[in-house]
């Protein structure tokens, strides 16, 4: 029965163009990250070549190519920002729509007058949501590999594994926001309010909490800069305790470690950054199941 629900949801999303749009948006931003990486690579190499010419003309030794000092995958560092900003928004819409028509349009009345368990229904909806977001993430992975190949060279086996780890983590992060979209709708029982509330949560997690817990530097919300302000000042020492709740911040920092673009740290510390996202997803998925089990599908509220 899980498969029946998932298949139906995938078909509905395909007809609503939600599935292709999700794949195109996620893949498109991977393309954009690749273009930005290529542009910065191209510009810096151009400047470096000119500098080398100038320096060698003066008989001095040229400094090493800056790109040889940077990790290969740093070219895709913008991708982690797109996942937290655009990807999370898309995931909210996917999660919201997975639940919306059945819960508010009255279709649920017909569904639950059939022999289906609400647990199977929940897992079916989650499976469909995971498939759509997974397709988007898989396309992003392929685009990233292509971008690295075009700009530099075909990634090494280690880089491919790191990239796969990053996108798997990104998929989990997107699933978290998809269940936020579903939970908000089930709690508020109105489509517009549910979507608005989920976007409010996204704004808080993506912009407000990172700002609060990372030295009040607005630029950190949009750039993968780690600890711009040392936490030895009292205020930042206090706010740093809230950091585990700053999901977007944890994502960016853990993603930086997975891609090996950030300062290395012990693996246990990286797992501690991943854990809040896994726990939050598990709790919200369980809450989705609980809310679907208690939802009164005999009433409809198409607003």
């Amino acid at each position: 029965m899980i498969g029946v629900i998932a298949r139906q949801q995938l078909l509905a999303c395909r007809r609503q163009n939600l599935a292709p749009v999700t794949v195109v948006v996620l893949g498109g931003f991977a393309v954009l990250a690749g273009i930005l990486g290529w542009a910065s690579h191209h510009t810096i190499i151009g400047i470096y070549d000119e500098s080398v010419k100038l320096v060698t003309d003066r008989g001095q030794t040229a400094p090493p190519n800056p790109f040889l000092l940077k990790p290969t995958l740093s070219m895709l560092s913008n991708e982690m920002i797109y996942i937290t900003v655009i990807g999370a928004l898309v995931a909210i819409v996917v999660g919201h729509l997975a639940i919306a028509s059945d819960a508010t349009n009255g279709i649920g009345r017909l569904v639950f007058s059939r022999p289906i368990r609400r647990r199977d229904y929940t897992f079916g909806k989650l499976a469909a949501t995971g498939t759509i977001l997974g397709a988007g993430v898989a396309v992003s992975y392929l685009v990233s590999v292509a971008a690295l190949t075009v700009v530099d060279r075909f990634p090494t086996g280690g880089d491919l594994v790191r990239l796969a780890g990053f996108y798997l983590f990104a998929w989990l992060y997107l699933m978290l926001f998809a269940v936020i979209g579903a939970v908000a709708l089930l709690l508020l029982r109105r489509r517009s309010l549910g979507l608005l509330a989920a976007i409010g949560v996204w704004l808080t997690l993506t912009f407000a909490l990172p700002q609060f817990t990372s030295g009040l530097r607005p630029s950190q919300s949009l750039n993968p800069i780690v600890d711009p302000v040392p936490i030895n000042q009292t205020l930042f020492r206090i706010t740093s305790h809230v950091r585990p709740y700053s999901i977007a911040e944890q994502f960016k920092e853990a993603a930086g470690r997975i891609l090996a673009t950030a300062t290395p740290e012990p693996a246990a510390d990286t797992w501690l950054r991943i854990a809040p996202i896994v726990v939050a997803f598990a709790l919200l998925a369980a809450l989705t199941w609980n809310l679907i089990t208690r939802h009164d599908y005999s009433r409809s509220n198409p607003e």
């Binding site: 029965m1 029946v4 139906q8 078909l11 509905a12 007809r15 609503q16 028509s101 349009n105 009255g106 279709i107 009345r109 017909l110 569904v111 639950f112 007058s113 059939r114 022999p115 289906i116 368990r117 009164d296 599908y297 005999s298 409809s300």
Partner: protein, 249 residues
């Protein structure tokens, strides 16, 4: 199981918050009956159907459909019922056949696509099969709604205000469909309705619900014989609704 009534309610009660909507309903409907459940808006008819279709849990008493308890044996109940709500909603971006196929799969029908097409054929609306439901008029949606309710050949069919949105021809078609289903498949039909003219033409038994209480139940023949002075079922209904239980003949 054949000895169990099609529908049985015993001291059935339901409250929304503290407001009683159904008050100690006792009602038995035998297999093969076409039962018309009458009552004005807010009388509790839809709540009763919601309980019998397992969509909500009653706050008191118990109800059984085809011998199965609607709370404890939900899966068995939903396997033997079909349900048409007053306002039919389906996935608008999918075709009628795709929608029906989905509901057939949920009901465990073995060849869902064939069942979807056969049911539309049976209802003489096969031409709707490949059109998207979002483009349908309310009458067309209602016909596809009936198809989803019967495609798994349920033993008991619940119709909640089935004539909503239908034009006179649609109402006539619906009446003929109900009579055919009852005759061809021996389906028991439980119908909430306001349309007394249709009740008189279709139903074998009627029940009247007023403010959550069942104040009358009898066969159409017995009802007409009981009220010889009243010309139409509408007059009988008005008299029943105005009277208290003890005042009725």
């Amino acid at each position: 199981m054949a000895t169990s009534p099609a529908i049985e309610m015993q001291a059935l009660e339901h409250r929304y918050n503290s407001d009683p909507v159904l008050r100690s309903i006792d009602l038995t409907i035998e297999h093969g009956e076409i039962f018309g459940f009458l009552g004005h808006n807010g009388a509790g008819k839809t709540t009763a159907v919601n309980i019998l279709t397992t969509l909500i849990t009653p706050t008191g008493g118990n109800a059984r459909v085809c011998g199965f308890d609607v709370v404890r044996e939900r899966a068995e109940v939903t396997r033997c019922i079909g349900y048409l709500p007053s306002e039919v909603r389906m996935y608008p971006h999918l075709t009628a056949v795709e929608n029906l196929e989905f509901f057939a799969r949920l009901s465990g029908v073995e060849q869902p696509r064939k069942a979807a097409r056969d049911t539309l054929d049976y209802l003489e609306c096969a031409d709707l099969g490949d059109l998207r439901v979002g483009t349908f008029s309310s009458g067309m949606r209602q016909r596809v709604g009936i198809a989803q309710a019967i495609l798994h050949q349920p033993r008991v069919l619940f119709l909640d205000e089935p004539t909503t949105g239908l034009d006179p021809m649609g109402v006539r078609q619906l009446r003929e469909t109900i009579l055919r289903l009852n005759a061809d498949l021996q389906m028991t039909v439980f119908m909430n309705t306001h349309l007394l003219s249709e009740v008189a033409k279709v139903c074998t038994t009627i029940g009247v619900l007023s403010h959550g209480e069942l104040i009358y139940k009898d066969s159409i023949e017995a009802t007409v014989a009981r009220f010889p002075d009243e010309a139409t079922l509408e007059d009988i209904y008005a008299r029943v609704d105005a009277a208290t239980v003890g005042d009725l003949p």
